[in-house]
């Protein structure tokens, strides 16, 4: 029987997968942001569990950074953003949820198969969860591909980073602190730039639908 820490990490990993599916099929933007915060929370819990089980103190720091950045700061910025863009109650109408879920299942099967030989080499207590991390990354890709509004695409991008972070924790007990801090800063700056970018898109096209970006303008 697996040790208790592994069981908890598996539980949080399963939660992450579930949240990834929920985000894939969520039509409302507000709920999407809340789900993103919840995903960050699951990430914090699993990182803290790994840190506790292995005694790696730097993982506590990365859990703390995740907590501050992805559970508090980014959702706050996103909430403010959609309030100022006035898209708080926007609903995406053009997604076919059952098809998306079937594609999502196919992605999960693919990711699990891909991760199985890799995780054999790992000695980490959470090596089984590499497949789930990969599946989260792929599903965030899918979300970015299928969504037509700009804000859900940004959220997809951010949740992809969550998946990558989880992969790093589960396979190798996290990246070096410098790299982690760099990525955290990158995400924050990226968020700010994307926020400005969203305002520019709306200025130009009076809408956040990125299909407008595909048309060439003759001016």
């Amino acid at each position: 029987m697996a040790p208790l820490a592994t069981q908890f990490v598996n539980l949080f990993a399963a939660g992450l997968l579930l949240i990834a599916f929920a985000m894939l099929s969520q039509r409302r933007i507000v709920t999407l942001i809340n789900l993103f915060a919840l995903q960050g929370m699951a990430l914090v819990c699993s990182t803290a569990t790994v840190a506790y089980a292995t005694g790696q103190s730097h993982l506590y720091w990365s859990a703390a950074i995740t907590l501050v950045l992805k559970v508090m700061l980014l959702p706050y910025i996103l909430h403010r953003l959609i309030r100022r863009l006035n898209v708080k109650w926007d609903i995406e109408t053009l997604i076919n949820i059952p098809t998306m879920m079937l594609v999502g299942i196919a992605l999960v099967v693919f990711a699990f198969n891909l991760a199985l030989p890799i995780s054999e080499f790992s000695r980490s207590i959470a090596r089984g969860t590499l497949g789930i991390a990969l599946a989260c990354v792929l599903m965030s890709f899918l979300m970015m591909i299928t969504r037509s509004k700009a804000v859900p695409q940004v959220i997809g991008f951010l949740s992809m980073e969550n998946g990558l972070f989880f992969a790093a924790t589960s396979a190798t007990y996290g990246m070096p602190m410098v790299v982690e801090l760099g990525i955290a800063l990158d995400v924050l700056v990226g968020m700010v730039i994307l926020g400005v970018f969203l305002f520019q898109i709306r200025e130009q096209f009076d809408s956040l639908d990125i299909h407008h970006l595909e048309k060439l303008k003759d001016e």
Binding site: M1, A2, Q7, F8, N10, L11, A13, A14, G15, L17, L18, F21, S25, I97, P98, M101, G104, I105, V108, V109, F112, L116, G128, T129, G131, I132
Partner: protein, 315 residues
């Protein structure tokens, strides 16, 4: 197969027949309490059955024998289903005859007969109800199978008695796969038993009804049998849920001391389950019929996820 086993099997059948209407009465009572209404008595379903059995049953002109036979087929399917699910003890002689997949087949057979009978009369309501029942059935069945496969993979058997025996014996571990399967199972049983997010059991003449539309033309003893069968179906699903996800307290074969405890434990679990059902029905609103495929696709997704998570994590 021994005498004791046969006795246990008959006891399980009799228990199902007696407890099923009681469970329906309990759910109705809880729902009434939660909605600030005065509750009907607990034994009301028995009274309704008694009343219906003594009434004349009227059969439409042009009804084929199919229409007369269907209530009996549906009733026996449901009775058999609730007899092969371990409720008190895993010592059931009928259990080797039908495993978890045959259980789904039994439910499907009952669904087929009731839908054909509803279309047999040729009324608009019956046909519409039959089509909706089939739509829900064909979406819910794969999800239910996925849930059962997950439990079978964990316990390496598709026999319900073996599943219960091995699940109740194992050490307490956190199994995310069983949690997913549990949510999927709840959604499937809400859909299959015509409960609130999918169908309103309190409605009697609405365009959106499903179960009531199917039995609209039946009366007298036929209707009584169908209502009893619906109660048995709810009982069977509750017992399947208990057997898969809360198997503690079900007596193992040849364990007499545990058998004494099994009945109060089962009653307590059923009461808790019925209350949970009433809570779900109170806080949720009925969804549009075209949203039902989405609801059941989610259940299927959770079932598949449970299976995949079990294969990947072994948990």
């Amino acid at each position: 197969m021994n005498f004791e086993g046969i006795l246990a099997q008959f006891a399980a059948g009799a228990l199902a027949l007696a407890l099923a209407p009681l469970l329906v009465g309990w759910v109705n009572q809880c729902r009434a309490w939660l909605q600030n209404r005065s509750a009907p008595p607990l034994l009301q379903p028995f009274r309704t059955l008694h009343k219906l059995f003594w009434k004349e049953s009227i059969i439409a002109h042009g009804a084929t024998p199919m229409y007369r036979v269907s209530p009996y087929v549906v009733f026996s399917c449901m009775l058999l289903a609730s007899m092969i699910i371990p409720t008190l003890s895993t010592n059931l002689p009928l259990a080797p005859a039908a495993d978890a997949i045959a259980l789904v087949g039994l439910f499907a057979l009952a669904r087929l007969f009731i839908s054909l009978a509803a279309m047999d009369i040729g009324t608009a309501f019956g046909t519409m109800g039959a089509r909706r029942e089939m739509l829900i059935g064909f979406l819910a069945e794969p999800a239910f199978l996925m849930v059962l496969f997950t439990a079978s993979l964990i316990s390496h058997s598709t026999s319900l008695a073996t599943i219960v025996a091995s699940l109740s014996q194992r050490e307490l571990t956190i199994l995310p796969s069983l949690a997913f399967a549990g949510i999927a199972f709840t959604m499937v049983s809400l859909a299959e038993n015509a409960r609130i997010p999918v169908d309103n059991p309190a409605t009697h003449l609405e365009l959106t009804m499903i179960h009531e539309a199917l039995v609209l033309e039946y009366s007298g003893r036929h209707l009584a049998l169908l209502e009893w069968a619906a109660a048995l179906k709810l009982f069977a699903y509750s017992c399947a849920g208990i057997a898969l996800f809360f198997p503690w307290g079900i007596a193992r074969a040849n364990d007499h001391a545990a058998l004494l405890w099994a009945l109060p434990v089962l009653l307590a679990k059923l009461a808790a389950g019925g209350f949970a059902l009433a809570v779900i029905e109170t806080i949720l609103a009925k969804m549009r019929i075209f949203r039902v495929p989405e609801f059941l696709a989610t259940a299927f997704l959770l079932g598949v996820l449970a299976l995949l998570v079990h294969l990947l994590l072994g948990a």
